[in-house]
């Protein structure tokens, strides 16, 4: 656009990272752990919203859902802002993913070892789009039964995709996941740029 008033703050460059994973895997918790604002929610109106189809097997505490994207924000510096978007948990909202994934820096696939198969769809999606991603295995209190390598084998992901254990509630742990992702992206960018 043409005109900018001189008294407004400079407009930063915005980047986005997606946080994907099955319903109830802890996406919003992860976003909230590092966001400088309490996670905000945007909603999209659907004309064919389903009712009562959420599968809550093994997920005792979460009983309702909306077609919503929760997101958070991290100001890296005055000219660079990172947005974290949680993707809608149910597969029937794939059409919303395309919009989210467009232009995304990368993605975190948050895996819940109680329902590992919920991660397959997200992994396939990012592999097909060539979106860089890492797999973060959310270790709930009483459920640290697997190692990262066991999860990698179970999910059958390429060797170059980082797989790490995390606690979605813990700021340092989530920070580490994001750093791993951006380092992974950096490696990919460097390998495609001629020396």
């Amino acid at each position: 656009m043409d005109s900018v008033r001189s008294d407004t703050a400079p407009v930063p460059q915005a980047l986005k990272i997606l946080v994907a994973g099955g319903f109830g895997a802890g996406k919003t918790t992860l976003v909230g752990a590092v966001s400088e604002i309490a996670p905000l929610r945007t909603e999209e109106v659907l004309t064919t919203a389903g009712v009562g189809t959420d599968d809550t097997t093994g997920v005792a505490t979460k009983t309702t859902t909306t077609v919503a994207m929760d997101f958070g924000r991290i100001t890296i510096n005055p000219s660079l802002v990172l947005y974290l978007f949680g993707t809608p948990g149910q597969n029937r909202f794939w059409f919303l993913w395309d919009e989210l994934a467009t232009g995304a820096l990368g993605a975190v696939v948050l895996a819940d070892t109680r329902r590992l198969a919920d991660s397959f769809a997200a992994i396939d999606y990012f592999e097909q789009r060539n979106t860089p991603f890492v797999i973060a295995v959310n270790c709930f209190d009483n459920d640290q039964r697997y190692t990262a390598e066991q999860v990698r084998e179970a999910l059958d992901v390429d060797g170059h995709v980082p797989v790490l254990l995390t606690d979605a509630r813990d700021r340092m742990s989530v920070k580490n996941v994001l750093i791993t992702l951006v380092e992974h992206v950096l490696t990919m960018v460097r390998s495609t740029v001629p020396a």
Binding site: M1, D2, S3, V4, R5, T8, A9, P10, V11, P12, Q13, A14, L15, K16, V34, L40, R41, T42, E43, E44, V45, M69, F71, R73, I74, I76, N77, L80, V81, L82, Y83, F85, E99, L100, T102, G103, L105, P132, R171, K175, L178, I179, V182, E183, V185, L186, M188, V189, R190, V193
Partner: protein, 129 residues
């Protein structure tokens, strides 16, 4: 001691809470328009009002968006803070854009990942959190 029969009424739960859904159907505020007229807005497209609140804007919703964007804000943040669905906000943003009341700043091209310098800055910033 007040004997007002309405005393204490506001302490009860309102029937029009979030669970009940919107009182006004979402696309009422766009006059039934469901598609942005021109270009689409990415969730992280930044918006900055180029006019003040006194500007003659078409509706309270447009006015609310102008108020929010007196400082730069991303589309997702605007939608969340005015509590309207994204689709609705995009239509309203097109109105403001065509009226010259708002400026948009799109994220960099979607074809390429950010450059090495930007990625290093992000890593550095995350480490410093």
């Amino acid at each position: 001691m007040s004997t007002d029969p309405l005393d204490g009424v506001e302490e009860g739960p309102a029937w029009w809470d979030h669970e009940a859904g919107p009182v006004v159907r979402p696309y009422m505020v766009t006059g039934g328009r469901v598609r942005p007229t021109t270009v689409d807005f990415d969730l992280i497209t930044y918006l900055v009002a180029t006019a003040t609140l006194a500007a003659d804007t078409p509706s309270p919703e447009h006015q609310a968006i102008l108020a929010l964007t007196q400082e730069p804000r991303a589309v997702a943040e605007v939608a969340s803070r005015v509590d309207l669905p994204l689709g609705v906000v995009r239509v309203l943003l097109c109105d403001l854009l065509s009226d010259g009341l708002i400026a948009r700043y799109d994220p960099p091209s979607t074809d390429h990942l950010p450059n090495v310098e930007t990625l290093q800055a992000v890593i550095h910033g995350l480490r410093a959190l």
